[in-house]
Amino acid sequence: MPDLRVNGHDYPLDAEVGRSLADVLRDDLGLTGTKVACGEGHCGACTVQLDGVAVLSCITLVHTVGAREVTTIEGLRDHPLVHAFVRTDALQCGFCTPGQIVSAAALVEAVPEPTREEIRHGMAGNLCRCGAYPNIEEAIATWRD
């Protein structure tokens, strides 16, 4: 049985072919920090990282992950971005927030001091219906403060 490597742990991958990474994370591994808001790759709530690259786990088939390391919000709980989001009030209902933070973590890993334009470009795939965007931008712009 192949393994699924998530947040530094190896889990035996025992899932039917055709299941999404999001469903396996949430339903089988109990990692419910990853949210599913549309289930068809349009909103970004389900964002996780594969080897540091942000991907939409709701439209990623779990058997295509292979040996790549999956990082979910549970693996980023102590990331400075988490505190930056709380400090700047970059969340309201919070349902999109784990996805926002996982996306932002991939962004600042690639570009540690993103410009406002880079933030807006990099985060445009993560919808927030509460409209916390001004503070999301602020949180990412000041993530190391």
Binding site: K35, G39, A45, V82, V86, Q92, F95, Y133
Partner: protein, 751 residues
Amino acid sequence: MARLIRTEKEVEGRYEEVWTVVEEDALGQWPAGPLEVVGRPAQRQDGLQRARGEARYTADVQLPGMLHTAVLRSPYAGARVGSLDLALALGLPGVHAGLSFQDVDFLEAEVGFPGAAVAAIAADTIEQAQAAVEAIVVEWEPGTPLLDPDEAVARGELVSDAKRYERGNLEQALAGADAVVEAEYRTQSVLHSSMETHQAVCAWEGETLVVHISTQYIWGVRDEVAEKLGLRPDDVRVVCEFMGGGFGSKNGAGDYTLIAAELARRAGRPVRCALSRREENLDAGNRNGTIQRLRVGARSDGTIVGLGGEFVNAVGWDGWVASTDGPMQMLYAVDNVSTTLHGAKLNSAPMAAFRAPGFVEGTFGLECVLDELAARLGIDPLELRRANHADMDVLDGRPFSSKSLMECYRRAEPHWERRDEVRARSDETWKHGIGLASQIWYGGGGPPSYAWVRVGSDASVTVVTAMQDIGTGSRTAMAQIAAEELGIPLAQVRVELGDSARGPFASISAGSSTIPSMGPAVRSAAGDAAKQIIELAAQRWQKEERTLSLKAGQIVCSDGGSWPLESLLGLLEDAQILGTGARGPNPAGMRVLTFGVQIAEVAVDVETGEVRVGKIVAIHDVGRIINPLNARSQVEGGIVQAIGHTLSEHRLLDPQTGMVLTQTLDAYKLPTIADVPEIVCEFVDEPDSHLTNLGSKGLGEPPIIPTSAAIANAIRDATGADVRSLPIDRAEMLRALDAAKRKERVAAPAA
């Protein structure tokens, strides 16, 4: 002492006379301005839980043996189910239970809109449930859908009788006016699009039905489920600690909850019924579209002499008629007003309250037509609004409990004065302009609402109330209020909420009412606990109670003595101090309303019709601000949603079949982070001296109300084009630019 009174109750602008029990509120208001904790920015107490993905939403509830539900929904906008047979579906693998309109009262064979539920199946997995729904044998008898609101009115297809309002004599006033503007405005239907879709998990524990639900109103769900399923209210326990957005669409139980409860009863297992995103866009409510035929007349000095409106709300198959006519009746001191409001019954999904229902739409029409008038008269739009300011409630002459709209206008001046500078940025392609609009709305809250405060021997304080925090930060605001009253640091207070079995009744989180309804109850409970602490302190240190107060974690005596709170409470051991509190009555004979003004700066590409919003300045008067950090977020969020409503969002229906064409989040255009302008947010922040022990009104809705009119007025300022229909997408913008050009040619035929 509790009193039984007859009082006016307001939710989302709907008033009804009710008997209600109120308790007198003995506490006077705190002084204005930032206090020790209240009025100062505080991070959300549950912020880390939410940000780390540790908060458990209904979507995350996993119960042992839980089944999943798929729902058979109408593929037609109007149809009758000729026959329906579940037998085949019930025999499929993994299926445990099914139901249809044939065996429950809350589903019907007559379906009036696309996506209406007629049957449901519970199975081990969602895929099995979906396969079983596919196997339901059903015969549809489709009808011809009625989709045109004007046609519905003409045919008398209304959800309720037309609402007419008159004061003075409009026709006479318009006949004597120096200028009259007449225009038709339209607003589209938009979708709430909460990130967590509507859903419930229902489980029977003996005779008790436990409902985990993403809701704005725990107690409303309890009562509705009990009534529809024939249970006693306390046999229904409703749990919602975290929920992923509602914006008015989650005020009720919804058929999905009843389906889950009934399937759980039949299967003897917990059942989840969750809408998919596509189901959400079909059948989770919407802000109804409107048609507004408006007239305004004024004297040359800017005095508005008459306002008239014929309004049609495209309500849908079911729902209520939101007050699109409200702003016209209430915002300005105009003697002659006549409005008619129709609610068209159509073969489209029922509307649901959506953040200031009616007033968002009505303010767009009113505040735009006023700017058309200002242009006609050559009067400054801000001056026009000042000239027609209402000093008392124009509906019945009541005084306002407080009103600082003039102060909002005053604070708007420095921003408004930038308009020459903004216009000067225009070039051949990009035209820049600035516009404003005023805001009026309810937001006073009301009784009943209750809270308990528990103080332990370690001086930790727990506020207990069965309210919900829908993401507005109400949990944190309640903690701040209790901390202030008890004179302790915020970190010492926690708030337990979200469970009807574990706390007293709390009001709905809708109608901008959570802080004005719940806040005073929490303060009253904390005040009761503080009183008991002082009684004990007086005995411990042989002081008179009136000389003692609580401050900075100390019991302070006016003679100069002070003792740490812990030194008294440590004596309690297992004893606890239990404070109870209730929301007092609203001020009798007064109108409690919220006010504000917003200014928009826009740029319009006159070649492509692209509109960019550069800046929104929002100045609102909602009484005392409890938490400036969360309050600013409410304003920003309201404005972001308003920008979507103004420029990009549109629930599109196929004009022949009535099917929803925008079922996905790539077809339905929500604003993204890249669409957000600079937002400047100010509050008057003066406590309403007549309203409760806090002087705070609600803030959830005010910021979404004036934005679309301010943007449209800025577009007129930039281009001379009258945009009268939302959304102002490129097609609408180009159409309006074209109309403006033609108008110019007619006005100047010699050229």
